[in-house]
Structures are given as structure tokens and as C-alpha cells.
Subunit: 318 residues, 2 copies
């Protein structure tokens, strides 16, 4: 039987698990609702169940397990630190229970970090050694592959790229600080731009897409922008500009060959990518940074699952 | 004879060369004025002369050569890209002539990048695998050691950490862009803060330290601040605040265990370090980032020379 790996993606709403061969071919897949409200032990038990089910499927000879988790994670201890979407978790390890039960080489990483590895191994970044993956949805996060290796930092907390200050004393971020990229350009920030303007009396077709202004999401704004709505386009121009400046900063710091953008907000397409790309071109310090490509990520909703599998593959390869 | 390496630091004003043993003990040293105005070939010839002189000293069995260069450098080709302090250089390689003449394993890196490696191997960062080195002088640059390896990026142009935008449309940077950390907090920016205020009629003892306001440097501002001058202290508070925000950004992106600050401006001591440290503490997104140490670099003016030697050591060790 061909050698395979098992990837587990623990999300706030779903726990997904799948067996992949070393080419990233999906051989078996299972998922369940995350019992987050039932507390940490219920989540751990559910993860162990998913893994047991996948292993008992008999598809492939599983040589290692990779787990992507929704919070800062220490790769050495497998501890997850206060994941916002897993209430009461604290700093428990997910590594110990999995390794104890199944006795397989097991590796843990933050979901956005391992997503970068997933795109690099199986997605839009194949063969690229220096790659930046950015996810733009409720928040802005990411993962950094540098010289072919995942950059995790001292304790696994690196690549919090949404938390760079772009406007000192700017709008409040989910983390409590002010003026971070995430506070200026995440999905909720894009929606907020339009909600505030509509409240101030600006005209926009986005009003007709929801029951009330507070229901407006970035997806509605994207729909309106694609239909030529000027307020919606302005929201993407402004937020795309902030993302572009954040990416120019990251280009100067990391010099990736390729930047991949994923997450729900990127479904907006050109209305988002155009201002991002033009801002990056205008803001990089030198022509030598002009030819760094900015593309859409390819693995969609399953990027965390592929990433977890990639983490396992990299781990067992040493 | 014990195995040794040769480090060469090509600066805008001096070319230094030295032989070190693997513990970083300096065995032989030579330096000369950089003949930058005589053109690139004169600089290359001078580098070859320094190396020949060091090798003929007979101190140690030199197993490899490391070269730190004052501009973006591609480690694979050894090309230096338009170094601002070497007029007319263009994109010549320094690797080829050195390797051709001496037949030794030779490695090239940007001077601020290799300085990080120097501090990690021989200075204040011994044994630290994730380290950020920041130099604050005429400009703001740096080097990143991640997982024990130098982060150089796709083509060797990474770690341009002074070129992160902190104030959109802020003051003009040496690179031509606006609002970069370097434009807000380098030595000239600190001096400019005081010069402008003095011109506007603010009182300061710094006026008595120079012939005229335009002669004021960051060193004068530091001297005045240490004597309790309130304008000078304010300049360090403001510029230290910008550096602190820039470091908080880098902490979120890279999660180093230790940040080392070097370069002439750090001679100011506490008047600079106090606002930097307090700003970082206030601006990191989470308590987990509070215990990242910010210390002074230890290798002083020779950091580039030690860094070049460290680059050679890492290179020959594979």
C-alpha cells in the first residue's frame, strides 16, 4: 500500500480529516461539527474519533498525522494558546492525546501557517521556496514559507501578519490594539466602510441587497462593486490600498517570490486584486520588488486540510 | 593548524578583512580605505589585495571566505545591486573574482543581514535560533535569523525592515517612498526633529553644541537628552515610539526570541531604549509577545566583519 499521511483541520465550526497520498491525492475524507460549546475534552474526543475513523478506512498506509489548529500553536509541545473559537481551551496540547492514542509521528501547526505549506506543496505555489500566504476573511492571517521551510518563530506564534500597524491610533482591532491591517481591511472592515457611509446618507445599491445596513457583509459589497456601485468600489479601493501597503511591508521584510491570497473576501476577484496590485507596485522601495507575483490561492476551503497533510509530510521527511 | 575562516566587510568608507577561528577569536586583521570614487574595478582589486594579505599572514588554515556587502546581494550569484555607497557598481558580482583568484568556498551577503548572523554566532545572541538584528544609523536596516538560518528571501533582498510604512503619506524616505520607519526614526530623522523645532523657536541646549542648527546630529541630541534637555528627550520619545511600533510589527510577523539593536544611534542608551521597550510592550497584540527581549548588540563597529566570518562558517558547515 502506498505511503500516505492524515491531515486534520480543527476549525471553529468543523473538524475535517482526510487521508492523502504524497502527491496530495485525497483518498478518504470525513468531517463533523466542532463541539466547541461542550468544552475542550469534547473537541479532543471528536478529533480522536475522526482520526480513528480515517485510519480504519484502510485507505493507504498512514505514516504520520498533521493537525492544523485555530490559534497560536507551539510545534514542539502541540499546545494551542487560547484559541478564540474553542471556548475554555486555555493552553491544552492536542499533540499528546493524538500521539498517545495512535502512536504515529504527529505534527501541529496554526491553520493559516500550515495553509501556506499546503499551497506550496499541493496548490498554486508548487516548487516555490519563498512564499507568503495571506487569508482575508473575518480576520487577516497568514503563513510564511522561507527557503522551503515554514517560518514559525520562537514558539510557533509567527506570521500574525494582520497585526501590523498601518494607522497609528486607527480603528480598534479584534486583538485590542489600534490601526492594524486586520482592523482596516478584513471582511468586517470592508462591510463597515459601506455601513457607515450608508448611515451617513451615501447612495448605494448594496442597501437593496439586505434587510438593514447592519446585515451588510463583504460579499454584498463585492456583489455591488461588480455591478458598478461606486460606494462599494470605493470600499474595495480603500481596503485594497491598505492590504497593498501591508503586502509591500511584507515584501520588504521577507522578499517572497509569490504571494497567494485566500479566504472568503478574495472571492470578490478583480475589485479587490486590482487596488492591491497597483498599491504594491506604487509602494515597493525599488524596481527589484516589482516582479513579485500576487495571485489567488488555489485550495479554497480545504486549504487547512491540505496544509495539515503537508505539515505531516514535511515532518516525516525530516 | 586550526581551521579558520576569512571575513571581509566592504563598507562605503573602509574595507576590513580578518581571519577568525571557529570560536570567533580574531587571529589577523587588515583594513584600508574603500577606493569607491575610483570605480568598481578599484574596489574589487582592493578586496582581492586585502584577502591576499590576510591569507599570506599564515595565521590559521582558511577554509572559506565570507563577504559582507553594502547593498542588496544575491547569495547565489554574488551580485550586488546598485549599492548606494559604491558609485557605478551596477550589478557586478563580487563572488566570481574572489572565487576565481583564491579557489576557496566563498559566500556573499548583505552587511546588515550577515551582522545578524555575527551576533548570533559570536555576540549577544549566542545559542538563539530566532533572532532579529536591527541597525539604527543613517538608515534603518537589519537581518533576520529564523530557525538558526539567515532569512535572505527569494533573491537575497529580504530584511529591508526600515522600509515598512508607519505613516501613510508621511515624510519622504531615502528610497523615495513616504512614511517609512527609516524616514521617521533614523539618525537623520532624530536630528531633523530637533532642527525643525529649534528653527520654530523651541529652546534647547543642543543649540550650544554645534555651530548652527544644520550641524545637529543624533549624537548631539543624545548628549542633550542625557543632560535633561526636554526637546532632545521628546525627539527620542517620538522616534523611539516609531521604532517600537516597527518592532511590534516585526514581532508579530517573525516572533524572534531576541531583538538586538546596533548602529551608531544606539549609543544614546536608555533615552532611546526606554521609549522603544515601553512602546513594544504597549503595542504587541497579546501577552505572549511581552517577554521578547530587546537588548543592545555586542559586536559594535566590527559586527559586519564577524558577520562575514559567520557567513563563511555557516556556508562551509553546509
Amino acid at each position: 500500500m502506498a505511503q500516505c499521511v492524515l491531515g486534520v483541520d480543527i476549525g471553529g465550526s468543523q473538524i475535517r480529516s482526510a487521508i492523502f497520498d504524497i502527491e496530495g491525492q485525497l483518498l478518504f475524507r470525513t468531517q463533523t461539527t466542532t463541539p466547541g460549546e461542550s468544552g475542550p475534552q469534547a473537541v479532543i474526543d471528536s478529533v480522536l474519533d475522526r482520526i480513528a475513523q480515517a485510519l480504519s478506512s484502510g485507505r493507504g498506509d498512514v505514516a504520520g498525522i498533521g493537525i492544523g489548529v485555530p490559534g497560536p500553536a507551539d510545534p514542539d509541545t502541540g499546545k494551542i494558546y487560547y484559541p478564540p473559537n474553542l471556548p475554555g481551551w486555555g493552553t491544552r496540547s492536542i499533540l499528546d492525546p493524538v500521539r498517545d492514542q495512535f502512536g504515529l509521528p504527529t505534527f501541529v501547526g496554526n491553520d493559516a501557517n500550515v495553509a501556506a505549506l499546503g499551497e506550496q506543496r499541493f496548490g498554486a505555489g508548487k516548487g516555490i521556496l519563498d512564499l507568503l500566504y495571506v487569508t482575508i476573511s473575518t480576520g487577516i492571517g497568514g503563513g510564511i514559507v522561507s527557503g522551503g521551510r515554514l517560518l514559525t518563530g520562537w514558539r510557533g506564534f509567527a506570521a500574525e501578519i494582520g497585526h501590523q500597524t498601518l494607522v497609528i491610533d486607527g480603528p480598534k482591532c479584534s486583538c485590542g490594539q489600534r490601526g492594524h491591517l486586520e482592523a482596516l481591511a478584513s471582511g468586517p472592515a470592508i462591510a463597515r466602510y459601506v455601513i457607515d457611509a450608508v448611515r451617513d446618507g451615501r447612495k448605494s445599491i448594496v442597501k437593496g441587497l439586505t434587510e438593514g445596513p447592519e446585515e451588510i457583509t463583504a460579499a454584498h459589497v463585492a456583489e455591488a462593486a461588480q455591478q458598478g456601485d461606486s460606494l462599494a468600489s470605493e470600499a474595495f479601493q480603500t481596503c485594497g490600498m491598505y492590504i497593498g501597503i501591508g503586502l509591500a511591508n511584507l515584501i520588504h521584510i521577507l522578499e517572497p517570490q509569490l504571494i497567494l491570497l485566500g479566504g472568503g473576501v478574495t472571492n470578490a476577484g478583480d475589485v479587490l486584486f486590482d487596488p492591491i496590485r497597483s498599491t504594491v507596485r506604487e509602494h515597493v522601495m525599488s524596481e527589484i520588488f516589482q516582479n513579485i507575483a500576487i495571485e489567488r490561492a488555489r485550495l479554497g476551503d480545504d486549504v487547512g486540510l491540505y496544509g495539515a497533510a503537508a505539515l505531516a509530510l514535511v515532518g516525516i521527511e525530516g
